[in-house]
Amino acid sequence: MKIYWQLFCAFFRIGGLTFGGGLAQLPMLKFEIVQKYHWMDEEELLDVYAIGQCTPGIIAINTATYVGYKKAGVPGGIVATIGMVMPSLIIITLAAAILQAIIDNVWVQHAIMGIRAVVCALMLNTVLTMGRKTLKNHFAYVICALAFLPAFFTKTPTLVIVVAAALIGIIWYVVIRGGETK
């Protein structure tokens, strides 16, 4: 029983004390999972992290589920995930309720217009950072350009583009290149 409580608390702290998710959570994960509870060593944690990145869903949730499952089976995975989700649920609900109550105020409106502009700058920067990290060879550039056309000019569902890319990737790397992803 104790392990469930520990999993819940550890992931509650990780969810409630880190901003941004994904990569930003790695130091906190390391502290709780490797140093404090010794549930995994650092190498295992990085493996888990890699798996979390190439499975669908929120990376932070995938990591929580994996660690919980490894320590205490399916219930462990569920408990760890609930721990991760709780802080967001509480904080966002409060923030959204507050925003809803004050949104008609004229000063809040000025502030929101400013925020809109900066959100755009932050999102553009996110795209740029992701692009720099991802576009490392000619194949990646070609796929990125090919995916951009339908995503930008048509209303093709996102899922269709992602599945098509996956198929092209498998055909190119497994069938044509014989399993070489370098």
Partner: protein
């Protein structure tokens, strides 16, 4: 009741298909604004701002916010549950049966193409967010808010300076609040 089920199913779909973490859910959240009247494109900008400046994973925060917008606190719980259930199923299966999942050549090949495609899809979504956020629309034509464009360009340029990159997004948003109020945006 129908909305509850739809909300749950839509977010479960996002949980199953959004590859690439938080930002990758954005295109799907945008698709929902076209399909339902749960929240608008303008709401989406507020969602991103609040989600970036509060603790917790971005994708999770945006899903909770979208659910809250649709059906209040209960909606937030429903959308979050929908989003995480696929993760629990997929990850438990992989942990049980596919020890070397990320070394599999099919998985590697697929992801080598999915990642750049996701960057393109997110870029297209961000373009749409910018268009709705910084331009006034009337009868299909878009006029920019000049002050917003200027602020966006300045902050984007500042974000390219290495020394400034360590500042948290919340600080930039605080800066936005001050500029917005002082210059009466």
């Amino acid at each position: 009741m129908k909305t509850v089920i739809l909300l749950f199913l839509e977010f479960m779909k996002i949980g199953f298909v959004a590859v690439g973490g938080g930002p990758a859910t954005l295109p799907y959240l945008m698709e929902l604004t076209e399909k339902y009247d749960w929240y608008t494109m303008e709401d989406l900008t507020n969602m991103i701002a609040v989600s970036e400046s509060t603790p917790g994973p971005l994708g999770l925060n945006m899903a909770t916010y979208a659910g809250y917008k649709t059906l209040g606190l209960f909606g937030g719980i429903v959308s979050t549950a929908g989003l995480v259930i696929p993760s629990i199923i997929v990850i438990c299966l992989i942990a049980r049966f596919l020890e070397n999942f990320n070394e599999n050549k099919y998985v590697k090949g697929a992801f080598a193409a999915i990642r750049p495609a996701v960057v393109a899809i997110i870029a297209a979504s961000v373009y749409r967010v910018c268009k709705v956020s910084m331009f006034a629309e009337s009868n299909g034509s878009y006029t920019p808010y000049p002050k917003l464009l200027v602020l966006c360009v300045i902050v984007f340029a500042l974000l390219q300076v290495k020394k400034l990159q360590k500042y948290h997004p919340a600080l930039w948003l605080l800066f936005a609040v001050i500029v917005g109020i002082v210059f009466r945006f």
